[in-house]
Symmetry: C2
């Protein structure tokens, strides 16, 4: 990828096949060279070239490209997006970029494009429109699609109802394999674009089983569906998407029927929708532990500040309270200045130890590996590990203090304080997420602040109180 | 779930259907009540009851159950695992529990069980056996399965080759839909248990396209496969599993053909294998940012210590170096003890700000949203946000200092130092992962230590050097 983008676009324009090669690096990530080519064409106002370039990309790659561009360039590219892929491209975009693009695209164009999407993806896009535009777009849609989208939007965000598509293939038990295949062959557009299971339902539309298509085709045409089907895992329509993801991951599901409160089949969720949820939930936990709210991919400077400054302010306040433990013992510090050097070491180690425990606990809670069946065992294990780690680190810091300050009493003070802090760190690191979870809160979100405050306060207090007892 | 487990198991033993209901909570996580029932049966040495209980569970739930039990109980349960599900259960177990179980199960039983698994899962299990047992088990397998497993193990860990299964459905372009369906109907055991795509290959076995089964069945039997097929995304057999996961997520793939260096079809990867990888990779990043090595689900105390103490020791050493900035200015602290109170606040905020930037950067790198096409824009955005956040926090800490100490010069000192530290935090928070990535290292693994050290050193040095200039 060391060829010069400007050269490429001026002299020897590569063919379309070449363009595809240039567009993606070996790992299928969009290449910087290609992004440069797009920027170059936009700068020169070369509309035809822009169309060529975006047409060489798959929808997911166009969405990627948009993420790499600034808002001005994006605006310039939107008119050149291939109409046949427009809906798919919009579905792939990150929320804040999507909102921007939806403002530019005409409602009629959008309505035309939406028809190509499954109901879940179409509802997602419509959900991002502002009130006025949403009404216009919905009005421009054919009756069937409009009602499907409206029905989907009626479910709460982040539930199975929003994740599912209403298009689903089902059949009664008494059908034969041959009848099912004939049905699939003739139903055409009414079927989902891609599907993996045929659900078997009773006369009240309640699922009684399911058969993977790859299983159905293996049986003789006269075989009854009842003989082919296997049991299915039903997803209640109001289930939280995080639980849906857990179930798909646990049982390696490819698709699952979604049922309403009466147990009737209302749609299906497929694993490709769930992959996105798993990715998201993992990222949310990671960012929450780092005290960031997710500002999305193309966050502006204001977005970045909004996602971080509030947490930093909370940190400033809680830390101001934590250092009150130092303020109380100010005269001790004045007499033994070496304590000012030790305070940050104890705080840093206490924090580190508690965040270690916290991260493991958040992960275990998310994967349901930690629940009331093993809470006490896990807590005990954490505390015992904390005691051992604390002992080891205390000996090390004690030796370091003796080496630098030749003061055994100061070494003892540092060792005892660190020991106390590491044990408290283990305890609070596991207790904070457990308690938050019990209270129905997200264990990843407020834990870091609680844990940092506790270990700092305990560490400062322990070091200086012990110093006051031993050293003065 | 407030019924008493002991009561249940003694008096009114629930039927099998009831057992299934008790086993899982509403969110399909294994219930604590059920775990208690298993422990109770094991304590009473009630073998029949144990068999009943584990037979009521699906393989993934048995694996879950094992995770909730201590090693002693696990040993007691292994002989009662239903033979027909044994292989699947073993495939579901976490690595360290699996090793333990594999030690107990007889090689002949294991060899019999492995036949039921797809080649990727079977290879995974065999990979966990110790040398001696591996030889015995492989020898007990039929020739075909042995060679499939050995071929799979020949690929490097965490590559597409290890993730893929060799069982795959393929056909030449000139076949008709009818021929393909007949083939699927007659091939039986040679086919994968479950599959989603029929790959179309040229005479040299190179994939030229693919057709989802749900698409194949929609066409008339006389349609040529060449008309039905769509383009496929080929996965090189030596591709890292993280890249495979990225591609599946990006293009919403359900399955993809795996090709060798010559472009020949050697297997397929299905999305259910990838879901696990996505989960894993996300967890790895989260734990790495918290300075923990993954010790697995059922880590012993020794395992926990091993996964954390080394990082804490590194932290102790780096922090000891960072506080040298305080040691240098010890006499400044002795003269203005309030500085000892301010040091931890600045360190805490600097750390927090850098970890925020770091987490976002690691996430963006993992999802390929950050590359050479937008590096400078992202770095600039981070630094500008750091300047704004720094200004805001500096004003706040300045006001707090005036409120508590009535000393404008000290307030100015704290404000300037915090400002410097927050800007450096933004810079190092984005630079560290970018540089590590460029060096081919995991950006999540060493970044936290680098970032903590830098912000602490800069924060301490800035506060005390400015204090020496302004206050003395």
């Amino acid at each position: 990828m060391d060829r010069d983008a400007a050269d490429l676009s001026d002299d020897q324009r590569p063919s379309d096949a070449d363009l595809e090669d240039i567009a993606l690096d070996q790992d299928y990530a969009l290449s910087a060279t290609f992004v440069d080519m797009v920027i170059d064409a936009a700068d020169r106002g070369d509309a035809q070239r822009l169309s060529e370039l975006v047409s060489a990309l798959r929808p997911a790659d166009v969405a990627d490209l948009m993420g790499f561009l600034t808002a001005d360039y994006r605006e310039e590219i939107v008119p050149h997006l291939p109409p046949e892929n427009l809906a798919e491209i919009i579905a792939e975009l990150d929320t804040n970029i999507r909102e921007e693009v939806l403002e530019i695209v005409a409602p009629a164009t959008l309505a035309r494009a939406l028809g190509a999407l499954d109901s879940d993806d179409a509802a997602d896009v419509v959900d991002d429109l502002d009130e006025a535009k949403r009404a216009t777009v919905l009005a421009a849609l054919p009756e069937g699609e409009r009602s499907a989208i409206e029905a989907s939007l009626a479910y709460e965000d982040q539930t199975a109802g929003r994740l599912m598509q209403r298009e689903v293939v089902y059949a009664p038990q008494f059908w034969t394999v041959g009848q099912v295949i004939d049905h699939m062959r003739s139903a055409g557009d009414a079927l989902p674009e891609l599907f993996f299971d045929v659900y078997v339902v009773d006369p009240a539309m309640r699922p009684v089983g399911g058969a993977p298509v790859s299983r159905v085709v293996r049986f003789k045409p006269e075989t009854l569906l009842a003989e082919v089907m296997e049991s299915v895992t039903e997803i209640p329509v109001d289930m939280d998407q995080e639980e849906v993801a857990y179930i798909f991951d646990k049982y390696h599901l490819i698709s699952a029927p979604v049922v309403d409160a009466g147990g009737r089949l209302v749609g299906q969720i497929t694993v490709d929708d769930v992959v996105g949820v798993i990715q998201e939930e993992g990222e949310e936990d990671m960012l929450a532990l780092a005290n960031v709210s997710d500002a999305g991919r193309d966050a502006s400077v204001a977005g970045i500040i909004g996602s971080r400054l509030p947490w930093l302010v909370v940190n400033l306040v809680s830390e101001t309270v934590a250092v009150s433990a130092i303020a109380i013992f100010q005269d001790v510090v004045a007499k033994v200045v070496a304590l000012a050097v030790l305070l940050p070491i104890i705080s840093s180690l206490g924090n580190n130890a508690s965040v270690q425990t916290l991260a493991v606990a958040v992960r275990s809670l998310a994967s349901r590996e930690l629940n009331s069946a093993n809470t006490w065992r896990v807590v005990r294990r954490e505390v015992v590990a904390g005691i051992v780690n604390g002992l080891a680190l205390s000996v090390m810091i004690g030796l370091a203090v003796i080496a630098f300050y030749h003061d055994p009493k100061l070494a003892l003070t540092a060792g005892l304080a660190l020991m106390a802090d590491i044990v408290i760190a283990a305890l609070i690191g596991i207790a904070a997420p457990l308690v938050l979870e019990k209270l129905g809160r997200d264990p990843a979100v407020s834990s870091p602040i609680i844990v940092t405050f506790t270990t700092d306060f305990v560490g400062f207090f322990a070091l200086l109180a012990i110093a006051a007892l031993i050293l003065l």
